[in-house]
Symmetry: D2
Subunit: 345 residues, 4 copies
Amino acid sequence: MIKVGIVGATGYTGVELLRLLAPRQDVSLEVITSRELQGTPVADLFPNLRGFVDLEFTAPDSEALYECDVVFYATPHAVAMKTVPTLLKRGVRVIDLSADFRLRDIALWEKWYKVTHESPEYAAQAVYGLPEVNRSKIVDAQLLAVPGCYPTAIQLGFLPLLEAGMVDTNMLIADAKSGVSGAGRKAAVGSLLTEASESLSAYGVSGHRHLPEISQGLNAYAGKDVKLTFIPHLTPMIRGIHATLYAPLKAGQDPSGIQQLFESRYKDEPFVDVLPNGQYPATRNVRGGNRCQIGVCHLPANNMVVVLSVIDNLVKGASGQAIQNMNIMFGLDESEGLRNIAMLP
Amino acid sequence: MIKVGIVGATGYTGVELLRLLAPRQDVSLEVITSRELQGTPVADLFPNLRGFVDLEFTAPDSEALYECDVVFYATPHAVAMKTVPTLLKRGVRVIDLSADFRLRDIALWEKWYKVTHESPEYAAQAVYGLPEVNRSKIVDAQLLAVPGCYPTAIQLGFLPLLEAGMVDTNMLIADAKSGVSGAGRKAAVGSLLTEASESLSAYGVSGHRHLPEISQGLNAYAGKDVKLTFIPHLTPMIRGIHATLYAPLKAGQDPSGIQQLFESRYKDEPFVDVLPNGQYPATRNVRGGNRCQIGVCHLPANNMVVVLSVIDNLVKGASGQAIQNMNIMFGLDESEGLRNIAMLP
Amino acid sequence: MIKVGIVGATGYTGVELLRLLAPRQDVSLEVITSRELQGTPVADLFPNLRGFVDLEFTAPDSEALYECDVVFYATPHAVAMKTVPTLLKRGVRVIDLSADFRLRDIALWEKWYKVTHESPEYAAQAVYGLPEVNRSKIVDAQLLAVPGCYPTAIQLGFLPLLEAGMVDTNMLIADAKSGVSGAGRKAAVGSLLTEASESLSAYGVSGHRHLPEISQGLNAYAGKDVKLTFIPHLTPMIRGIHATLYAPLKAGQDPSGIQQLFESRYKDEPFVDVLPNGQYPATRNVRGGNRCQIGVCHLPANNMVVVLSVIDNLVKGASGQAIQNMNIMFGLDESEGLRNIAMLP
Amino acid sequence: MIKVGIVGATGYTGVELLRLLAPRQDVSLEVITSRELQGTPVADLFPNLRGFVDLEFTAPDSEALYECDVVFYATPHAVAMKTVPTLLKRGVRVIDLSADFRLRDIALWEKWYKVTHESPEYAAQAVYGLPEVNRSKIVDAQLLAVPGCYPTAIQLGFLPLLEAGMVDTNMLIADAKSGVSGAGRKAAVGSLLTEASESLSAYGVSGHRHLPEISQGLNAYAGKDVKLTFIPHLTPMIRGIHATLYAPLKAGQDPSGIQQLFESRYKDEPFVDVLPNGQYPATRNVRGGNRCQIGVCHLPANNMVVVLSVIDNLVKGASGQAIQNMNIMFGLDESEGLRNIAMLP
């Protein structure tokens, strides 16, 4: 029985962790914290959890966290960096869904997040939790940084092409579309149904915080610095990310091997589903499920490779991937608790 | 291992049966039929099932159906009545999600469905699969008629009041709101996103097919004929039914006992969740889950009882309830395969 | 040329006033106020107005308001009551879209709005701006109280039946469904797309602020106190109210005259559209237009009259109706600036 | 008074033409055709038109078409090509919203539309109705081909850059997102609310019919053949196109002039709105209005120009642009009947 704590479970990644963890027989939810809501039953905030989660929110400095085997941070950025070290020192493993420990380059992190990092030495030892790349390191991770939602969809889409060196890395484009839950469960005019439904717009055009995280990964896979243009868009749906990726095929590369390349790269991956040639994904295919679904196409007229990569931003893009990492860290079947099928329609 | 067949699994109740059944270890999907799509992989039609369901659609008269322990009918009305008898005679138990065997009064059925019933003798022996009322009869059912979506939400909402004889049965009102999936997965202009989103309208105002089914139930619980006005509405969402029920409290009845009445009636029911006094349900609380969530309020100014009852029309209103019945029929834990938590947001 | 000011135009009724007024040749927008946003171009907040409205927001105590012929208040409740008297004393006519001057009974107003009314003497002289009832009084109104959104849809639906004395006023039910814009343009978790889309719920079940306003009207039309149960619902769309109204026909009344009753009552009304017998409205039929569309049905089994009444809550339920009143007050064609057709799809 | 006929007005471009034309005093709607619905009042199909359009649908071969000054074709492709010549010979001017006369290269048209063109000689004399490019030719057009929705948004976005020769035309990318109304008002499973809401997917990945039309324009503006990758996406909203355009700035070009370039190019255009530096469009800013709103950004890290171009696909992308062309053809103010402000929210 794995004893689990969750810090800051009042947002969407928090409730999603609870949705996926509560039914498990091998996991025991010990403590769920929230500064504002301590004393409130968790199921009062999230009525879908009634009968499944009987805990109340407790203060974030609860001693009970130290009794856990693993603590998930489902907090905004710049929270985990303050208290994670104490947990680690007490031998509690930490899975951080926030951005605090994703970047190796602390100066870069501080530039994008506009705050001084309080635990820079831990960023160096954190393991970046993209199992399709880092599985062996995840096994022994004490501090696990869960990748962001855009970074998950985009890295998994570009990964095979970069590893194989097939595309021109000087002009990669990631045009990404996200549902509104990516903005979290906070009162903001721009996320109102009246503002965000029946509309579509780009945001962060001149620069988005996920860009350095994505580049860090792509550079590693390519073995050199890539040039990526990344434009995220807000789209009128609750969940889902659809990344449309453009990469010019290098001269001399044979496009007929691309489909096979993707299928081979991911054939043993339980949570990456490469569609057959000519089929393309829709975000609804993965809604509620921990799966990245990918379609690939080569356009001969421009010798361009187009990759379509979809995830549920709250599952494979956050809480599901966090649990996938937990399963690896604790030697469980990687799919434990993640076998539920996406909900369609 | 229960061997399962599904007839007509190209609609939303079909894919929902598959979503809930495919991950189970105690169920074996044997055959899935579709006249139009025979030979097509099921997962080509429903890409969320890729990797979970490897079957192809087969012809509806497949011999393989006779090898099943139970066959679900996820067909439009007037289909099951043609072939169910043959299965029953071969000892196969049948769970029919369509309307064919829900009404005792065949003449009434024929009037509303405008077709001659081809197996009227079986309607008499069919068990109406509302476990909260009929659990003991369900155990031995050979032919199980799964209640409709509106009937489930409305009957469960009125049931305690009628059994207790607390309300005036001469003026019951059920104002019900449904998501668009209630119309099924068929190409129809009225169900297009362009027609049904950003709009709300009543339909079937002068009479809806679910009315006689609802009345059949309410009459039984009240022990006399009730007068019910039922107005369904189409609302711009995929899933969910919200039934707002109005019943005048009888003179002399004590309103202070109503909350307790509901809690007592459903305290042992795994799939009915009575909210605390002053809380009211939202359809999203049950989206994807097999749960009816109910809130009750008494308005003293008019001595009116208002009951708010929500379900996911595809789960507790169809496929989830069908599986709940299967579990009872086969002596399993009633919650087997139905413990997944509703998806919020 | 009518000189117009708008107080508090940062919400949805504000931008809707501007959408409808800006293209007019006979209206001059003089001043638009907002305490928070003074100095900001109005079109920066509402980019649909770029090129149509060149004003900046000014402070709410701007002297320019006194130069206006008419000032619209598009403020939350309890704002207009503070400053309207000064404008009136300076000879400026006021059209208040808030609730401050809708109720005759100040004690009742204070009970529901939980604040002391600061200008109770003006409530007595305010004209309730439902043209279909009060047109002749509106002509000379100095202070005009625009009806609420629910009250408009519900009063227009019940009006003919109550005037004619055809229904039992002891059990009227108004089951109303609203789009999210009814909650205004304010950051609130419950109005987020992630919370309000793909869901439907009742709210204000034990009592909603619009109830006394509706009852005030219905009592007047019936000539006696009616008993109304009013349950509003939040539905996943931006605009629209659909009121489903239930009224038992009195014994002895001939149901065959109901359709004709509605048609006669509204035959000269430019903004009430009674549908032919057997047709029912959808909110999208009136989206963006200043129209109430009504369908009526009599259910013989229960002798129940069901009225379906739809409006766009921001147009006929707020800003459009405000302009309709302005047209009447200033002796213009009542339809001036309101002839645009609803947008479908 | 311009006498107008509309062929095939049962789709969304048809009802949109009627919404915009019916309120006009200088236009007389003479005849509206539909083969299937002849004899049905137009307002029965589109209840938003009740009281505004009193015509019935008539047969498409109605003689009344010959009495019109101008006839709009709001038909699927391969319809106009059959009957347009007869109208032209009788001196009736034609504005075709379909694709039949958009391409100069008939062989190319036949390849993409998979049908033999029956009036190829008329394609040569048709004027492509993008007023921002072709205004002077439109004045005398007898046969006017209204641009497609994607082509309008994409051409207007790339146009200034190509005319100025500032970007590398060997790698242009247009990642376009459309609302579902782009698929028309036809019963299709993929356009159901249950299929298309809460989801996002690319389509036509390997090739979309609008590609040759877009390329024809871009080639002309660039003065040479460009290489364009065009990926359209289906997004869960009714109306709107958001085109995200990527173009590498040529080495040596000064990025600081790009904003000014766009502003200058469109400063006299009544229906193109270039946003200030740092502001980006949303489709809702133009919903219901005949406007293309454009934002531009240069990303120094990759020397990439990103253009964001939005329209309402049914207005500036179809019926509004058709009317803008009519205004030019008949010597009216180009904005006549098109001054309505977009509806927000």
